[in-house]
């Protein structure tokens, strides 16, 4: 419980990242948005809005990553929205998106489209005012609504709906509506212009490739604009690559990154479905091994004797095994498996069930502990080296799969110190070493002297 409250302290509960999933496919994207935010150690709440046509299974999988999953339905929302909708039925999805302004329990939010991928911690976005957004690549005097900062307010929401009913949207979508509503964005206050790196349209790269080579490494959020989304590509999990040659190299790298992010979470669920559909508590296994890296060309022998208490090494064998399992699964299959997971856990309300709370509090540090794991994938992207495979975070899951009989051992004290150790290390990795206190070099020296004797 100590660690849980500590984490609460870290989370600034009145600010949130918001995303929206209107189909099952988009909920894959939303999952990646949430996962990538967690990986980069965001301290904000995560909120996913889903429309009614999103299946319950997909919604449940979102609940494992997001603090809050909200069902939004145009037709049973407030009357004014309802009425506006009746006047302009073509703006259906747009009205769904506008729902984010009703999240008034938060003082400020950042909206991220479900087809974005976060590459580093972007909590600094909350320093911006409403409405801050990055220019659209097609018409830079308009902002792109893939990433924007806003302040929830029912009043604004109402005005937006009125505006929509009266003027419609010049492009038929939310972007046209919001741009005509916040029409002074282009001229009034330059501080509301987010840098392009916060909403880097991958499809824009061809038009100005030299700029990408110069500034691309600074990208913070990638936006997969256009008709082809990352989830449309087939991903070979053995090679950690999508089938090559489909698209240009830069896009390919980002799509690979997206898939790695996707699998870093969902594979674990797949295994859960395979080995013990009833408990879903194998997540405990990765508490004790929070930082393992996958081995790319792992030896083929299967190490099946792994216990959760074993040191965080030698998981390669099982990883390979898991990967072979995953090898031929196509995207559709995976989606199916996703469904299975949830359908076999009919009443797994992860957020509320008290028995599952410890699990919840362990997943968080794990989720945010390893932003550097992304490092190698990121290095891969910007400094492509031959023969370099990517890094995935699958081994956590691998630790769990061969031990189906494993009990959810609570062991509070060791976990706690491990937790603290993790936390301590994370502070360093975020550049907050306590150099005037416990991290003073004299203490490091003492550690060194242990082995120098």
């Amino acid at each position: 419980m100590i660690s849980f409250s500590f984490l609460l302290f870290l989370t600034e509960a009145d600010q949130a990242f918001v995303t929206l999933a209107t189909t099952d496919a988009y909920s894959m994207g939303a999952l990646v948005v949430g996962k990538s935010l967690r990986r980069h150690g965001t301290r904000k709440r995560l909120v996913a809005m889903v429309s009614p046509n999103v299946t319950r299974e997909a919604r449940l999988s979102l609940e494992e990553v997001f603090d809050e999953v909200i069902l939004v339905n145009v037709l049973d929302s407030q009357d004014r929205a309802h009425l506006s909708y009746l006047g302009r039925p073509e703006l259906g999805v747009t009205f769904t998106k506008l729902h984010c302004w009703t999240l008034t329990k938060y003082s400020k939010c950042v909206f991220l489209d479900a087809d974005t991928l976060v590459l580093c911690n972007v909590d600094e976005l909350f320093d911006r005012e409403e409405l801050s957004a990055a220019p659209d690549q097609g018409w830079p005097d308009c902002f792109n609504t893939g990433v924007f900062v806003f302040i929830p307010s029912l009043e604004t929401h109402g005005q937006l709906l009125q505006h929509a009913a009266k003027h419609g949207s010049f492009d038929g979508g939310d972007q046209g509506l919001l741009n005509s509503f916040f029409s002074d964005w282009a001229l009034k206050d330059i501080s509301k212009h987010l840098p392009f790196v916060y909403n880097l349209s991958v499809s824009a790269l061809y038009t100005y490739l030299p700029a990408f080579y110069k500034f691309g490494h600074q990208a913070k959020i990638v936006h997969f604009l256009g008709g082809t989304k990352p989830w449309h590509f087939r991903y070979n999990q053995q090679t950690n690559q999508i089938s090559p040659g489909d698209l240009d190299r830069i896009l390919e790298q980002y799509v690979n990154l997206w898939w790695r992010e996707f699998y870093s979470h969902t594979q674990q669920q797949v295994i859960k479905a395979d080995s013990h559909p009833d408990t879903g508590l194998t997540q405990h296994s990765f508490v004790s091994r929070p930082r393992q890296s996958e081995k790319k060309s792992a030896p083929a022998q299967a190490v099946s004797t792994l216990q959760t208490s074993s040191p965080p090494l030698d998981t390669q064998g099982t990883v390979a095994e898991t990967q072979t399992k995953e090898e031929e699964r196509s995207l559709e299959l995976r989606l199916l498996t996703l469904d299975e997971v949830s359908s076999e856990q009919p009443d797994s309300s992860v957020q509320t069930s008290p028995s599952e709370q410890p699990e919840e509090m362990h997943t968080h540090p794990k989720d945010v502990s390893g932003p550097e794991a992304e490092y190698s994938a990121y290095a891969d992207l910007h400094n492509p080296a031959p023969g370099q495979g990517g890094t995935g975070r699958e081994p956590e899951a691998a630790g769990g799969s061969p031990t189906p009989s494993e009990e959810p051992a609570p062991e509070p004290t060791p976990v706690e110190t491990e937790e603290e150790k993790q936390q301590h290390r994370r502070m360093w990795e975020e550049g907050h070493a306590d150099y005037m206190g416990k991290d003073a070099f004299d203490n490091i020296k003492k550690k060194l002297d242990r082995f120098l004797e």
Partner: protein
């Protein structure tokens, strides 16, 4: 013409013999680990690359360098081959079998040492685990945004892993010495020590991380050395993790060395460990078989600079080029660290002094410091074009003149001087003269500066008002680009340029070693340095009267900035008052110091460090008491004596009038006699095996 160097030192035979037995190198492996092996990033590359030759001479096949693998570097600088030793091959294979890439080859530099290169990107998938290991070892975490530090950890982990595999193979024999350079290799040392790998470790820092940061931040560094709270300073500058790695490596090493006395002082405060050995940086000195060849090179290159000056100052050439001295400062554009601030202030004072003394000497000062520019400016290029045009005009008139003279002589008469040039000729010449008139002052900078209004050199030039006026005796030419032999303006490479100048001025504030004055010295060009630069300290220690040998050392450590400026002004003023003959003598003396800077002399400090490390790591096998006590201190080293003849310094030779010609210079001087005297004063040379005869030195090996 440059010829191969013979082993016998040309002008000076003597450097003290080291009475150390050589190490049993056949029973040892020496590894030298640095981020800049085959990978030029900064100055360490020069050190490592030039030192390779003497180390290979000593260690032969048992010497290996280790660095990061980059495909481009590998293709252009390394010839791949198989490891000569089975143990190394097995260790490499073991890494390869675990999915990391390791490459072996010969580095294509002088001495062609073996290199082992580790692919950082290819091993990045281990980063998370290795960060965990580092964390468990010493409690240092690396921020994920610091890419360089993360790369260094991957590098260090690979190194430690390699050594583990290697020493498992070797057991006890041969023993391993691992010499790590700079903090980037530090993680490798710490991890190796924590795993109790049996080897002798040396850590060399060329500058401390924190010292560099503090000096760049314009802190009064040397006066507050003992007052800094270093943990806090590092933490506030966001480099705490790097600083911890560096200090941890220093703490774990058997032997800690640094490159100069001044950096030793710095390290003592910034890293809290007194270096065991000072290992100065050397050069591969190029010698010419012809005596005084460097003097001839000086005059030919000086002629090229004079041509440039003729063009640059066209219309204002009212000074005597024969009595014009060329000073220069060169290096990275760090305005205060490199001492450009002090230099400019002193130049303004020098200008004043020369004017009140009605000196006929003019000083043209070149600033060779790369800044952001928009290429050459029109005025500079025009100057060179005008010079060319005048030359062509003169040439055309000369042709006609010569023809008429010839015809007159053929007729058997003395030509009528009034008729030998007709009106046409005068018209041509007058037209050329009018075309070349200029209404502006010669430009201070040769390029269009991007930050013209904020550039520190230009703003200071404006402040002190040195705009190349006619009555200024000090003229300034700021060339904000490195020199190149293909430049349309000043077509010389750096070495040629240095040889053509009279004095290099490097009044640096922060300069752990400082290759620039060293390069001047080995080319026989006097230079100004400071007692805050490693080079200056070294010279002060080894030479009794450095200024007689053309090494002027400004005291910036114990004097105020104003006093330092006065001292520098005095040095330059006295240099201006020397006669040509005195300058020639001084250049001979300067050049004679180059043996002192040769790796063949300075390499011995590294030898000593290795010996010391062995005795500490393997006290049973290698006992230090059989060795000669460390020759680090001043008294143990040797000092070049004060020259016997009257030094060319002005204190002895200030003339009552500024007009003195070379003829009235009556100082007794005999070059051979003096060289012989030096030879007797100094002990026999220290040699490291035979140098293969006829081995040519590559030109331009002085870096920059």
């Amino acid at each position: 013409m440059p010829l191969s160097r013979s082993l016998s030192m040309s002008s000076l035979s003597g450097l003290p013999l080291w009475e150390e037995e050589s190490l049993p190198v056949e029973d040892l492996y020496l590894f030298e680990i640095a981020w800049e092996v085959t990978n030029k990033v900064g100055g360490i590359y020069t050190v490592i690359q030039t030192k390779a030759k003497i180390t290979v001479d000593e260690w032969g096949e048992n010497y290996f360098m280790m660095g990061p693998y980059y495909e481009h570097n590998f293709k252009t600088q390394v010839e791949q081959c198989d490891p000569p030793s089975a143990a190394i091959k097995i260790a490499m294979d073991s890494l390869k079998n675990s999915g990391c890439q390791v490459y072996f080859g010969r580095w294509l530099i002088e001495g062609s040492p073996y290199v082992i290169l580790f692919d950082i990107g290819g091993a990045a998938w281990n980063l998370d685990r290795w960060k965990g290991e580092l964390w468990d070892t010493c409690g240092i975490g690396l921020p994920y945004h610091d890419r360089e530090a993360n790369d260094c950890l991957i590098f260090g982990s690979l190194i430690a892993w390699f050594f583990k595999e290697l020493t498992d193979q070797l057991q006890d024999k041969p023993n391993v010495i691992a010499h790590f350079h700079e903090w980037q290799a530090g993680a490798g040392l710490v991890l190796s020590r924590s795993r109790k790998i049996p080897m002798a470790t040396i850590f060399t820092t060329h500058a401390t991380l924190l010292g560099r940061y503090l000096c760049a931040g314009n802190v009064d560094f040397y006066n507050n050395l003992d007052k800094f709270n270093i943990d806090r300073e590092a933490g506030e500058r966001q480099i705490y993790h790097r600083y911890c790695l560096e200090r941890a490596a220093v703490h774990c090493a058997h032997v800690f060395t640094t490159v100069s006395q001044i950096t030793a002082v710095e390290a003592n405060h910034m890293l809290h460990r007194q270096p065991d050995v000072v290992t100065p940086n050397g050069l591969n000195v190029k010698k010419f078989s012809a005596v005084h060849e460097f003097q001839n090179l000086h005059s030919t290159n000086k002629a090229k600079i004079q041509e440039f000056v003729r063009g640059h100052f066209y219309g204002h050439l009212d000074f005597n080029l024969e009595k014009t001295l060329f000073f220069f400062i060169a290096g990275r554009y760090e305005f205060s660290n490199k001492g450009a601030d002090v230099f400019l202030e002193s130049l303004s004072r020098l200008n004043y002094l020369l004017r009140v003394h009605k000196s006929d000497v003019t000083v043209v000062v070149f600033f060779i410091m790369p800044a952001k520019t928009n290429n050459f400016n029109v005025e500079s290029l025009k100057g060179q074009a005008v010079r060319k045009q005048l030359w062509d005009t003169a040439h055309a008139v000369k042709e006609k003149f010569g023809k008429r003279l010839y015809e007159a002589l053929l007729k058997g008469e003395i030509p009528d001087m009034n008729k030998i040039l007709d009106r046409d000729d005068f018209t041509i010449m007058k037209r050329a003269l009018f075309a070349t008139q200029r209404h502006t002052l010669p430009p201070v900078t040769t390029h269009n500066m991007l930050d013209d209004s904020t550039d520190p050199i230009l703003t200071n030039v404006r402040r002190i008002g040195l705009f190349n006026n006619r009555n200024d005796r000090v003229k300034i030419v700021f060339h904000p680009e490195f020199l190149s032999s293909t430049s349309p303006l000043l077509p010389m490479d750096y070495e040629e340029f240095v040889r053509g100048c009279h004095l290099g001025v490097f009044p640096s504030y922060y300069e752990p070693w400082g290759y620039t004055p060293g390069e001047c010295t080995v080319m026989g060009i006097p230079s100004v340095t400071t007692n805050l630069s490693g080079f200056g300290c070294f010279m002060e220690e080894h030479v009794s009267d450095p200024s007689a040998y053309g090494i002027y050392i400004v005291d910036r450590r114990f004097r105020s900035a104003d006093e330092s400026c006065n001292q520098l002004t005095q040095f330059m003023f006295s240099f201006c008052q020397q006669s040509r003959r005195q300058r020639i003598i001084q250049r001979n003396r300067t050049e004679r110091l180059s043996d002192l800077l040769d790796w063949r002399y300075l390499g011995r400090f590294y030898i000593h460090a290795r010996r010391l490390a062995l005795s500490r790591a393997f006290p049973d096998t290698f006992k230090m008491d059989t060795f000669v006590p460390p020759p680090v201190s001043t008294t143990q080293g040797f000092r070049y004596p004060r020259p016997q003849s009257v030094p060319p310094s002005p204190s002895a030779s200030i003339h009552s009038t500024p007009h003195h010609s070379d003829e009235e210079d009556e100082e007794p001087y005999d070059e051979d006699e003096e060289a012989e005297r030096d030879r007797q004063n100094i002990k026999a040379p220290f040699t490291l095996g035979a140098v293969p005869p006829g081995k040519k030195k590559q030109p331009g090996e002085y870096g920059n």
